[in-house]
Symmetry: C2
Subunit: 328 residues, 2 copies
């Protein structure tokens, strides 16, 4: 490993949408980073900037294989400061059709992280959890302590299972565990999500955009840069043993039909938008939720994009630009 | 399978402490029962009565192997009415030392149950969860909707993971899911637990009983017959899609030192009791908790043993009698 003899940050899912931008941030802050990714959705392209940094090392690895993960960390296990565990299946509907996907990519990867912490005495873990752990609470604002937690998707279930695996680990073997409950995150380098799907569809049929569901689903969206600011702030400031934070905008979100219109308006002005009849896009999709973010706000976090709509607009610009670069 | 052509109740962990007594109850009520157990802790002895019943079939099977489980159910999958999923690791401290135990015996068995439900269209699941999903909330009464859920043992973590796996399944494919959050359950046929451990120790050293911890841990205990009454009542009366119930006594419990004294008083009158210094018996043991059971009470459940102490006394009698029969 080419990095210097100093404390190491391990990032799983390092080549993904969020992981790769976290890697860039950590490198810019002067840390040594060891990234792993199995390229299910991540790409080496996302790590172009990082790869030029002498403090960065990368290994292609499926960490749901815990033996392989522990072996990969063997030489540097003793100097790991934090494991940022971001590897996961991010395709909620795929995991609904085949539960093995979330089991392997979301839960077993976490189990491997827990084993590695025990093996190497790693005392800090930062984990990308999700609003989906809450299940469907209707219009009640979701604060971090709400119950019961009955996730309605395999995605949410395996994220909650992962949280539980890590809280049990923290009791025995961690100084700090940070659980970030992500909302829908948007931005450049996205490998999935509603904007990504809309742009994919429009590439195939530039004159028509078919939206799953009636488009009246309303969800909070956060811009990637604001998410990363929050994550880094939380790890810096929150020093309980277990630190669980919702991260998201303060509004109730933006309608799927507004997102469709923004995408069409910015990139495919002649496309006609059509909608389905259903209230939900797929089984396990929570149609509407409201996110309480007072806790992260109280730490001093102020997002640059104040509204979900702003975040979506900025993300559409970034993703259109990503696609333009690829085809150029 | 020798059972008649009628609806089938599948019981996992059927040869265990609780499973075997549930099997007896279901058979006595006239149901056909198919039991599976891998004999980690269960014994064929527990199924002596059941084995004489023509409505009972049994297979030795480790259901953490989902393929084996699905294959075993193949011929009768279509007529399964309810899966009662009780198979799990019940040794909390063993799972603390080796997380693979709870992963395999508690979580992967649940994953197999979920797969079997999908495969055969089973619409009802009853699951033995635990108070350990709540983690440590200090002296706050634990009602079913309390949050956050940060289990502090791998046992509690893998039970919460199992609940999540089943709630996600229920969204897609169940009519009814019953989650029983068990307290400490005591009674005859026990394969583990504090009374069992004390009797084991006293068999080896009849003049001394060494208690882990300072004996000041206080926990609610429920007698097995009262637990089974509650489970059967809940499945009969609670008809939401997800039905989650704490089951336990209304008192704050009984001290470990009281249990030690009851055991010594009833079975080893000359033994001296010694205590450790620690507040907790082991990492992941919740030292003190208070259980809210209004919800199951409101259904009409009235336990025969009104206090934890009564439950413990009755259980000590039953276990001493079990041991006497074995050595006789």
């Amino acid at each position: 490993m080419p990095v210097r003899e100093k404390k190491l940050h391990v990032v799983t899912g390092a080549a993904g949408f969020i992981g790769s931008q976290l890697v860039d941030r950590l490198l810019n802050a002067g840390y040594c980073v060891f990234g792993v990714d199995n390229f299910t959705r991540g790409t080496m392209e996302n790590l172009q900037e990082a790869s030029r940094n002498a403090n960065f090392a990368f290994l292609e690895l499926d960490i749901s294989d815990s033996t392989a993960f522990v072996t990969a960390l063997q030489d540097d296990g003793g100097r790991i400061d934090v494991i940022w565990h971001l590897a996961a299946n991010s395709d909620i509907s795929a995991g609904g059709a085949d539960p093995a996907i979330d089991l392997r990519d979301t839960f077993m990867t976490t189990y491997s992280v827990a084993l590695a912490c025990r093996k190497f005495g790693v005392r800090k873990v930062a984990f990308s959890s999700t609003s989906a752990v809450y299940g469907d609470h209707g219009s009640v604002a979701l604060h971090e302590d709400i119950g019961p937690l009955f996730p309605i998707s395999n995605y949410g279930a395996m994220k909650l299972a992962s949280e539980a695996c890590l809280t049990a680990l923290s009791e025995a073997a961690l100084d700090h565990l940070w659980l970030f409950r992500f909302p829908n995150v948007v931005g450049g380098r996205a490998t999935h999500g509603v904007i990504y799907d809309f742009l994919d569809k429009l590439e195939k049929t530039p004159y028509e955009l078919q939206v799953l569901g009636n488009g009246r689903q309303c969800k909070p969206y956060l811009y990637i840069d604001d998410l990363l600011d929050a994550m880094l702030l939380i790890v810096d400031k929150a020093c309980e043993r277990i630190n669980c934070f919702n991260i998201g905008p303060e509004d109730e979100g933006v309608l799927v039909r507004d997102i469709a219109e923004i995408v069409v308006d910015k990139a495919y002005r002649n496309a006609r938008i059509t909608y389905g009849a259903e209230d939900r896009g797929w089984v396990g999709d929570v149609p509407r939720f409201r996110y309480a973010v007072d806790k992260v706000r109280a730490l001093g976090w102020v997002p640059l994009c104040e509204t979900s709509r702003e975040a979506v607009e900025k993300a559409v610009d970034a993703q259109v630009s990503d696609r333009f670069k690829k085809t150029a």
